[in-house]
């Protein structure tokens, strides 16, 4: 799976989950720029990514995953399952 594919899948999940347009998402998008990305939303996001990519994040990783860029980087390093 290419890095581009991975990014596209992450963006698609974030857009759907937080009900924002995918075109408005950027690597810097974070809880500060997306209103519904609160603490409950964060857990939803983490679990949705775990389900989608077949991985499990550690509590430390969950704390770091606070913008799309970092999320994509962490996922890329975990060699997630392709579809």
């Amino acid at each position: 799976m290419s890095a581009l594919d991975l990014e596209a899948r992450v963006y698609s999940i974030v857009a759907e989950l937080f009900n924002v347009r995918i075109d408005n998402l950027m690597p810097e998008s974070s809880p500060k720029t997306i209103e519904s990305w609160d603490s409950t939303g964060h857990l939803d996001l983490v679990l949705a990514l775990e389900q989608e990519f077949g991985v499990q994040f550690s509590p430390d990783q969950m704390d770091q995953m606070m913008n799309l860029n970092t999320i994509v980087e962490i996922l890329a390093a975990m060699k997630p399952v392709g579809r």
Binding site: A8, R9, S12, I13, V14, E16, L17, N19, T40, L43, D44, L45, V46, L47, A48, E50, Q51, E52, G54, Q56, F57, S58, P59, M62, R83
Partner: protein
């Protein structure tokens, strides 16, 4: 990638192709069960056409752990089954306060369903965390304490509110505190938790509307180690792994469907390549696949699953494109056939359109189209039925017949939360009805038909055993119902305390089976007269002159008590046309008509008699006859 499916769903919604949209949404949720998919589906259902088909249900979760991430999945799975949920989640571990305080947030929400999602580590922490420190007596004490807490919570809940209550039973640890030693003693940790679970079933059974969700079995079905996410538990009080949240949501839906009354009453099955492998018309009796060995074993397995539904009170019917003679020969004579003609209440074995056949089956069984489930191996037939009759529950079968029985067993539309004696026999009554109709067609006259049925009825004053069914009949019967006056169990009990009221039940049986309690009559003394407040019969037995036997019994009772005038009320409703001529056809004369249209009829017992038809044996306890 799920992007193309979403685009396709969106275009189906724009063109109004609800069948394609909902089928694809189901597949999407199966393929990608996460919150993003769930939110997408929930947004799709905001379309008015889909929204309006749903039933609203208010659910409260009382919980001791993080359940938030399961909620979008639950709401999406529910909406795909026709239920729109409003959900309230309690704060962590506040379930006792919520239940015991009548002014709590939960009661203010006025839920229809409450789910108590608790874990052993929160209800009895000592048994979970400090088990190794406890001796056998201390273990007993903790088990009893947990049982007492549960009993008190359930009692208090039922005292304050009438919502259905679903209680999670307690999960057993994947590795016990004392390792393999745990299984060597009765006071083991796993055994202690099982004892609490066992007691929970007893407590639930003693309280109406309380049900147990076997959470421990759910976890073990998918694997304890796979289910539990220790990292999320320790960091976010979220014990369930991302991949298993969908299974929990699906389990909740299995409870919500019967609670909301969105169940199927009947299952309509195809024959070729569904009940057996191959085509009976081409392969013949010896050529079709059905039996204990592969490949016939897959079909035998499906027949077992169908028979289990029959025993749960689900009515069975056949809809197959075949020559009836070929198909019936297989059903009657194949040595390994589990389902025989007598299991089926309706048969449409012909070359007609299946949607039309299903409509006819629903009419014949006198149930709504939405109460039918449809089981067919052919995706084309399923699609055709799904498009023409969107209310029908079309069961999605995999290509491989070895997966058929599991697909049927997992279908939530056939779930039941309780079974009454009537439920257990229902499928048998309906199947008997098909045989009665066959007899009626052969009989030279109606009277010959009645005689050949060998009918007996038992009429008696309502008692503790019959009260529930009698109240249910006054609530549910619409067609043969002279006044359609509805009574609850409580109201009937109150009437019986008055000296001037009598309530009778009627139970009927014939050579095809026991129909159970199918009739109710209520009479009262009014001055010099005995007045029939109401008389009703279930549509199951209308048209067999049983109503005459019932009336004859009431007339006799009135005479014995010294009354000479038997009077009776008739109230016209939109649905009771079938009972309109009941009084006039039995020799009653109209006395008066109230301004609201209610009519009063009269029969002079000193001048005439009402005879029980001679082909009906009356007032003998039915058990003795059978």
């Amino acid at each position: 990638m799920t992007e193309p499916i979403r685009a396709s769903i969106e275009s189906s919604l724009t063109t109004g192709d609800w069948y394609a949209a909902s089928t694809q949404m189901r597949r999407l949720l199966l393929a990608s069960p996460n919150a993003a998919t769930a939110h997408f589906i929930l947004r799709c259902f905001e379309v008015e056409a889909l929204r309006s088909t749903c039933t609203d249900v208010r659910v409260v979760f009382l919980r001791s752990f993080t359940l938030e991430p399961a909620m979008p999945l639950l709401r999406a799975a529910a909406v795909l089954n026709g239920l729109r949920l409003s959900v309230q989640l309690s704060d962590f571990n506040t379930y006792s306060q919520e239940v015991l305080d009548p002014g709590s947030r939960m009661y203010k929400f006025d839920p229809e369903v409450v789910i108590l999602a608790i874990q052993a580590q929160d209800l009895v922490p000592e048994l979970w965390y400090r088990y190794a420190e406890l001796d056998a007596a201390a273990v007993d004490e903790k088990v009893e304490a947990a049982e007492a807490i549960l009993a008190e919570l359930i009692r208090a809940f039922r005292h304050y509110h009438r919502a259905h209550l679903i209680v999670h039973n307690l999960e057993i640890p994947s590795v016990a505190a004392s390792g393999i030693l745990d299984a060597q003693s009765d006071a083991g940790q796993a055994q202690a938790i099982r004892r609490i679970n066992h007691a929970m079933v007893k407590i639930a059974n003693q309280t109406p509307g309380v049900y147990v969700l076997d959470y421990d079995a759910l976890v073990s079905r998918y694997g304890r180690l796979h289910w539990r996410d220790e990292q999320k538990w320790l960091s976010a009080r979220m014990p369930i792994s991302a991949g298993c949240l969908g299974y929990l949501a699906a389990e909740y839906v299995r409870f919500l469907i019967p609670l909301a009354g969105r169940t199927c009453k009947a299952l309509v099955v195809d024959l070729d390549n569904t009940l057996w492998g191959g085509l009976i018309g081409e392969d013949g009796l010896s050529g079709i696949q059905l039996g204990p060995e592969y490949p016939g074993a897959a079909f035998l397995n499906l027949q077992r699953a169908i028979l289990d539904l029959y025993r749960r009170g689900i009515i069975l019917a056949i809809c197959s494109k075949n020559n009836a003679g070929d198909a019936l020969e297989a059903l009657e004579n194949h040595p390994h056939m589990l389902l025989r003609p007598h299991h089926f209440a309706a048969m449409r074995i012909n070359w007609n359109d299946k949607a039309q056949n299903l409509r006819e089956i629903a009419t014949e069984l006198n149930i709504g189209i939405g109460a039918l489930g449809f089981l067919d191996d052919s995706p084309e037939e399923r699609e055709q039925v799904g498009r023409q009759l969107p209310e029908v529950c079309v069961i999605d079968l995999p290509k491989d017949p070895m997966g058929f029985s599991t697909a049927l067993r997992e279908c939530p539309a056939f779930e039941r939360l309780s079974l009454s004696a009537e439920d257990l026999q229902r499928s048998g009554y309906y199947a008997g009805e098909r045989q009665r109709k066959g007899l009626a067609e052969q009989a030279p006259s109606l009277e010959e038909f009645y005689r050949s049925l060998d009918i007996c009825v038992e009429i008696g004053p309502v008692d503790a055993d019959s009260l529930k069914r009698v109240a249910q009949l006054t609530q549910k019967t619409n067609q043969f119902n002279l006044t359609t006056r509805r009574y609850t169990e409580q109201q009937i009990t109150e009437l019986l305390h008055l000296a001037d009221w009598y309530v009778y039940y009627l139970r009927a049986a014939d050579k095809f089976g026991d129909n159970g309690i199918v009739g109710v009559a209520m009479t009262r003394k009014v001055g010099e007269n005995m007045e029939i407040d109401n008389l009703l019969l279930s549509c199951r037995v209308v048209g067999r002159s049983i109503e005459t036997a019932f009336l004859a019994h009431l007339a006799q009772e009135a005479l014995q008590q010294g009354f000479h005038l038997l009077r009776g009320w008739f109230v016209t409703t939109r649905k009771n046309a079938v009972s309109k001529n009941f009084y006039s056809s039995h020799g009653f004369h109209p006395v008066s008509t109230q301004p609201n249209g209610e009519t009063l009829w009269e029969f002079d017992l000193s001048k005439g008699q009402i005879h029980c038809p001679e082909w009906i044996r009356c007032s003998v306890p039915i058990q003795c006859l059978r």
